[in-house]
Amino acid sequence: MSARLIATALLVLALIGTAGGARAETLIVSLSRDNILIQSNFTGERLSLFGVIQREGDEKGASAAYDAVVTVRGPRGAVTVRRKEQYGPMWLNLDERKYIAIPAFLAVQSNRSLTSIASASVREDLRIGINAQVPQQIVARGANDPRFREALQRLRIAQGLFRENPEAVRFIAPNVFQAFVDLPGTAPLGDYDVDVMVFANGAMIARGNTKFRVAKTAAEQTLATIAAEHGVWFGMGTSILALLVGWLASVIFRRD
């Protein structure tokens, strides 16, 4: 009997506890497209993402303003970073470090600067920002040298493949936001995942995921597949084309 009482009391306490927390936010995200097809006129694409924060329970509790961080990651691959060093009078690639699981594309977008959204330790834990997303040098060949990792990020940012944009997320209502994801023309093919985190008062309160895929259209893919799988035939086809173009030019410009 007494055991039952205690159990009931605990249950009630637990219920009060959750109600008191009033932090049962759920996040719904929706991406404008989930399949991006690359055609011969592809020069990049803008995707838009909508997020809705639904709060259950305590409706009137005036919660702090929300912040949102949208991280878009392309397919991962191994990257070798090389450094030119002086060798006699020449500068040659002599030193290198290898990194695995580096995303081929990385965009970290937010409604304001990452530093004002969450503290350094929270950002570190949740891997927010370019620096946190780039893994440490794993395949050790030579001592760990942070300059290679910095260079990797710097070069990727210069190529437009890594970016942090603290203005790419906009709240259109207190609990509705929109984010733009600009994919460059050089966007690597493959599966991209989109990780959306919502913060309030510097703490993450909801998280959602979605994904999209960048692929060549049937025609482009057929060409690439032939090039990859039937290389000899592809080469012969290209050769015949070269002969044809050369012959056509000689017919056009024939001076008889």
Partner: protein
């Protein structure tokens, strides 16, 4: 207007590539060389991956040499026997070149090798041609200028090293040229033509046609080998370059006929030399950005 290259996996400006094809075609038509030594660095400069740039060179040179070889064939100035000998050597060189190319790419030194080879090869040929032709121009200062006529007084008639070689020497040079063509994206015309005339004493009137014939088939072979082994031949890029190149070559050939032979050689020498200096700058000066990245594998 942008077009997406399916193999290089990047968009490029159609008119930029066409324009580059025309410009290089103009120079190749003017000097009777393939123009690969100019086009490969230009392509790398606009961001085409070096592997794709070198591999796609083959069909472009093949197309412009088809036009050239056909016109020489009509004039019956191709020595098919000599061409056959050159071809055998060229094919061996091409196979070795493609193997070398793939190996260098695997160990990540392709760019360094391409750069250094350009410096050595273009630097020496460029210096030789400029030096000799400048001396000729200075010497000819007193002589009344002659107009260049078709088939005679070509730039290569007057290069140094007027030696006689044996057949094995011919094979070795042709293998080397095939190697350079496949491995470095150079057709080799700028080496083969003077070599045939000056080292092997081939009559000048059949040299250009025969060398074009040889380069044509070597490049067709290189295209198939690159396509079969490293899948780096980009069809769209090749097509744009070919179309620009064959048109440029026609105008270049006409312009070339207007220039005096010795000035012509000075121009060619300086052109080759400037490409070599540009590459030497990459190797011998401290780079602004010492780091570079290469994607070694991707999980899709």
């Amino acid at each position: 207007m942008q077009i997406y290259l399916p193999i290089a996996e990047m968009p490029v400006d159609v008119f930029l590539i066409l324009g580059m094809g025309v410009a290089v075609g103009f120079i190749s038509g003017m000097f009777g060389v393939g123009g690969g030594f100019l086009l490969t660095p230009l392509l790398i400069f606009v961001g085409i991956p070096p592997a794709v740039a070198v591999a796609t060179q083959g069909p472009q040179i093949a197309a412009s040499s088809t036009t050239g070889a056909l016109s020489y064939w009509r004039r019956k100035s191709i020595d098919f026997k000599l061409g056959g000998v050159l071809l055998v050597g060229g094919f061996i060189g091409t196979i070795l070149g493609v193997l070398f190319f793939n190996q260098m790419r695997r160990i990540g030194q392709l760019e360094t090798v391409i750069t250094l080879s350009y410096v050595v090869l273009l630097g020496s040929v460029g210096t030789l041609v400029s030096w000799e032709s400048l001396a000729a121009v200075i010497k000819a200062g007193k002589v009344p200028p002659r107009r260049r006529t078709a088939g005679r007084h070509n730039w290569y008639e007057g290069l140094p090293f007027n030696l006689r070689f044996h057949r094995p020497g011919l094979y070795i040079s042709v293998i080397l040229i095939g190697f350079a063509g496949a491995g470095l994206g150079i057709g080799g015309g700028f080496i083969l033509v003077p070599a045939l005339i000056y080292i092997f004493r081939v009559p000048a009137q059949v040299v250009v046609g025969t060398s074009l014939f040889q380069i044509l088939f070597t490049m067709l072979g290189a295209t198939v080998l690159h396509a079969a082994t490293n899948h780096s031949v980009d069809l769209f890029l090749a097509l744009l370059l070919m179309v620009g190149g064959v048109f440029g070559a026609q105008f270049g050939a006409r312009a070339g006929a207007q220039i005096r032979g010795d000035y012509f050689r000075v121009l060619l020498g300086l052109l080759i030399l400037s490409v070599a200096i540009r590459f030497a700058g990459d190797v011998f000066t401290q780079p602004k950005e010492p780091f570079s990245t290469t994607l070694t594998e991707t999980v899709r």
